[in-house]
Symmetry: C2
Subunit: 635 residues, 2 copies
């Protein structure tokens, strides 16, 4: 956490750059013009808003039909990758403290001696070691919203949602500075018109915004009906505080997800419509009937209900939009200005715990791209990549969900039984599954924003297209152990991590000095972009240096200016750019991420932490070529 570089300021540094409360609480009025209008305050909308609000001087508004933040129910799974992105927003540790940690999964199946009773088959780890520095956790979606809303409120372009405000319609006129005109209905049923540069529909499965994009959906409805409830109960089931998948012989499957606070649990109860046919319509379902269904599955154990915090019945299919924006290939000069995000473009069953996570990552992906375009850092061309990247991820999710639903649905007993016959297969299936649901397998294809993997061999542990996986390193200036990727906050900056081998260090230092000079060269297009002020390069691209070895190996080294730049109004030296690979815990990033110990490399990391490219250390001019593809250059 760096602060005070423009001078000492007392008080909480987390609030130092927050917008004033007056501006944040301003509601939308008829005729207002904004940069981005977000429709919906669910995970996709809040993630988008959280990223965008980190930029200075953007005007972002959010409208929400509901009358306030949600307080109960809905999603509760927070994947490892989601925790990493919460770290980039600064609140991962508070969620770690508050949430339930999923450490293990218990499998219960019909007892071989008496198939009317379930018995514990096995317990496996939920997450494979080394997948992420964060665990998979469970927390009420409402609390995740609270953290995102708080982050938005404490940010330079902070805002508060306009509740009780309904999106009605929109039209686009590219002749205008704010080409999207939006009609909104307010609480008193009056209408206002707002003009925006970009409109993002994060308004859920019944999205109204999606109707204005001309997208088509593929997929189908499920014929399975599930009950879901958050309860306080007393039970003799021994694994009630472990995530448990309980498959009965005759009554279907029950999923127990322990919840935050140590007492509450969530149940997903498969409803057997031959037995529970009256439950097919929600108004005939009661919590009592759901618990009866759960108790049929979990016999000989019993759940005695004490309190129901929330419950619902769902029957949801897998469905995905063909595009997530209004871009039309026949009009190549028009870039997208309308987007949809989250459940508005993809729906699937909640049991794999993916809904909230994928929606959040939609929002972050779009957030930095809109921010870069609105700040004139990048060309509008990059906006097309949002749909390209996220539609493909959503399609994979739908496919994954189809297989996953089989495991949990009717065919479930068979699948686990066949898997169970081979301990190794069983484990490896759940390892693959675990990586996917952890969110760390997301890989964007080569594009303008993702370079080729031709130099992947220089850093095999940083697959191009996937997120930059964090590792502990030792900060050179003060020997503090830090997680490298935790330095990469969601602030719109690109990162270039320079891995410098210890062997032949004087030669390497020459390369680093050349790199430093090339960056500060007035001919550098990145500098011309910023108006030739080399001291401000850091606002756009955050260089970091990982030196092989320990701080003591580099005592007395005169580092080039790029490695210890002077920043801010007072031109103070930033000592937090240089790290060493040796750590007290024995971890060495050169080893764990398989960095070439002869050649070293540069790793280019996007503002959403995805690896955009790997280059040989000495070929840093190719870096400029990469950025010239999409960065705006002021002549």
């Amino acid at each position: 956490m760096q602060f005070h570089f423009n001078g000492f300021k007392s008080g909480d540094p987390r609030l130092a750059n927050a917008r004033s409360e007056d501006l944040i609480d301003q509601r939308l009025n008829d005729g207002d013009q904004v940069d981005v209008l977000i429709v919906g305050s669910g995970p996709a909308g809040l993630a988008l808003g959280a990223y965008l609000s980190q930029y200075n001087d953007l005007s972002i508004s959010m409208v929400e039909a509901k009358d306030g933040p949600i307080r109960v129910g809905q999603a509760d799974g927070v994947a490892c990758r989601t925790m990493e992105t919460f770290e980039a927003l600064g609140f991962a540790h508070r969620i770690l403290e508050e949430a339930y940690w999923v450490n293990e999964i218990a499998f219960w199946t019909p007892d071989s001696k008496n198939r009317d009773r379930v018995s514990r088959d096995r317990v496996i780890d939920d997450t494979e070691p080394g997948l992420s520095e964060f665990p998979h956790v469970i927390l009420n979606q409402a609390r995740v919203h609270d953290y995102l809303l708080e982050k938005i409120r404490h940010s330079p372009s902070g805002f508060s949602p306009n509740y009780r405000t309904q999106f009605i319609s929109c039209e686009r006129d590219d002749q205008k500075v704010h080409p999207i005109k939006v009609r909104l209905q307010q609480e008193d049923e009056s209408f206002i018109y707002v003009e925006t540069q970009f409109l993002v529909g994060c308004d859920g499965a019944h999205s109204r915004v999606k109707d204005f994009l001309g997208v088509t959906f593929s997929g189908d409805r499920s014929d399975k009906v599930w009950g879901v409830m958050d309860i306080l109960c007393s039970t003799n089931f021994p694994d009630v505080r472990r995530k448990s998948i309980i498959k009965s012989d005759r009554f279907g499957t029950l999923l127990i997800i322990p919840r935050e606070g140590g007492y509450m649990i969530r149940l997903y109860i498969e409803l057997d419509l031959s037995v529970d046919s009256e439950m097919k319509t929600k108004d005939q379902v009661t919590p009592k009937k759901l618990i009866e269904a759960a108790n049929r599955i979990i016999a000989p154990y019993e759940i005695a209900l004490k309190e129901v915090a929330w419950w619902s019945v769902y029957e949801i299919g897998q469905r995905v939009a063909d595009r997530f924006d209004d871009y039309d290939e026949r009009e190549v000069n028009r870039f997208p200005r309308l987007f949809i995000s989250g459940d508005a473009c993809h729906t699937h069953s909640p049991k794999a715990g993916q809904g909230m996570n994928v929606s959040l990552q939609d929002g972050f992906n779009l957030g930095w791209k809109l921010g870069a375009v609105l700040n004139n850092h990048c060309s509008t061309e990059i906006l097309k990549s949002y749909s390209d990247e996220r539609q493909s991820i959503a399609s994979q999710l739908i496919e994954f969900d189809r297989v996953f639903s089989i495991i949990f649905g009717g065919g479930a007993t068979n699948v686990t039984q066949s898997l169970a016959s081979d301990q190794h297969d069983f484990q490896s299936y759940f390892v693959r599954h675990g990586r996917y649901t952890a969110g760390v397998e997301t890989c964007y294809r080569q594009s303008q924003l993702i370079g080729s993997d031709v130099h992947q061999g220089l850093a095999k542990g940083f697959p191009v297209g996937k997120r930059f996986q964090s590792e502990v390193v030792t900060r050179f200036a003060d020997s503090k152990p830090v997680h490298l990727a935790h330095e990469f906050k969601f602030d719109g900056r690109w990162r270039i991590v320079v891995f410098c081998p210890a062997s032949n260090f004087s030669k390497q230092l020459t390369i680093l000095s050349d790199l430093s000079r090339s960056i500060f060269d007035v001919e550098n297009p990145m500098l011309s972009h910023l108006g030739c002020d080399a001291s401000r390069i850091d606002e756009l691209i955050d260089f970091r240096f990982a030196l092989e070895g320990s701080p003591a190996d580099y005592g007395g080294t005169q580092f080039p200016i790029l490695m210890q730049p002077e920043k801010g109004d007072l031109q103070l030296t930033d000592y937090e750019k240089i790290f060493c690979s040796q750590t007290k815990s024995g971890v060495d990033i050169f080893c764990s991420r398989q960095i070439d110990r002869q050649a070293g490399c540069l790793v280019i990391v996007r503002p959403d932490q995805h690896v955009a490219g790997i280059l040989p250390l000495a070929q840093f001019r190719e870096m400029t070529v990469f950025f010239e593809q999409f960065m705006m250059i002021r002549k």
Copy 2:
């Protein structure tokens, strides 16, 4: 973090038990009666207030002569033990994120070839491995106050300080329910009278409250003068981000403490009065003169000042009061009702970074004792132990500070040079010194509240009288890795940790069942105290169980009710009492804390986390004998 056991409640669980804002913001009025009146809002007062505000329905008020919270300067060292206590108040992680971490100390001495230049002698670790799970950190005292004030505000007996209110005088009349009558002066110079059960003077070195206790001070003034400043600067000194002790040949010593945020540093500059005689009176000192003095010491390096955030000059001696309360041995029936705490009873030089830390621990020590008496959990007898325990700690601090000042003062070069001649001695001196300043050596003597160490051999790693050092264990119900002592929040509860060996477990289980029965026995004096409601024993004594081995070793075990008690309005099962010693990281608390693997033991832990006693597992009836000494028993 446990919540929802009285039913589901939406929103931030950290605020679930907070007092209403209206009550918190009530100011003191003439004629008010309170349980505790705290004079002064420094570390001692805020720590006391933070502990007391965790109890339900106490009426606590704080008066402070200043017109608001401090914003700059003063202390900045936060010792490991202090971080542990901040964890017990729930905000350690936010401080970890914001503070500077002291990992190493660099020693600079006159260069052997040219004694007018300093050169780096060595760098050593600041804290020995395994001392605490928390690092030694540095943070503006004002921020520490902010966290304590926020904690107080979010607590069941929360309050806000009455600023611009001055303590004038007090008198004690034991015939009254609120025996202390206090005269206060308000901002408009009018006087009000307030009656309180207890009055605590946390009003600093110039305490007015201390004058009403009849205590005497011993100690003497120093003849050393030091300048201290928090600055933003640019410098070519290579260790500017390491804690550095720089001893020049002719110009004295400079201490550099890097500060939070990555840019600010604190300097302690020894002023050589033969050179800087004009600096002896503060009004002749300027930041420019202080930097000149620093630059004389640090040559050939240079510090160029960019901004001064705060500065001061001090010349402070070591001084300690003979008692910290108004107890008079000649009046055995009167227990203490007036106390002093923090700088009001002990002053010393700031360079060892002890001031804020010792004052905070004073406050926590008194906090739980006043809370226990006001809640009728313990007899008033325990109040005498505050002065007994903390006066002896302060006396040790004064003695330590005397030696430490020699190291930093004039004799410094000699001491480190003689130590430097033997690498091993040098290191071991700083290891001893580091343990002391980390705050983990604090050991209370045997008393009513600290049992004998006759059974110390059963758990050598938990010295009786010292704080219960945390260790990672695995929670039985969900396999979560947790730091055992992080479960021991500052909530007024005693803890009994039952260490149960794996060998002969069925016999051990019989003992545990007997223990459970004995606790729930209606004849148990602890129960009669609580009105015989066994389900409420947990509100007074929090039993925890550490089983040797892993959760899988205990599958299917039927645990007695004490190990999985039913709690709260809904009588929900608490699954967070049982832990296993095996962890994924390889740590095993039976090994690291040297628990007897045949006998096991009970460790009694006080509400301030100090080990009060160790008993053989089967001799749990002695536990009742221990508590009967000071717990109130309702017949």
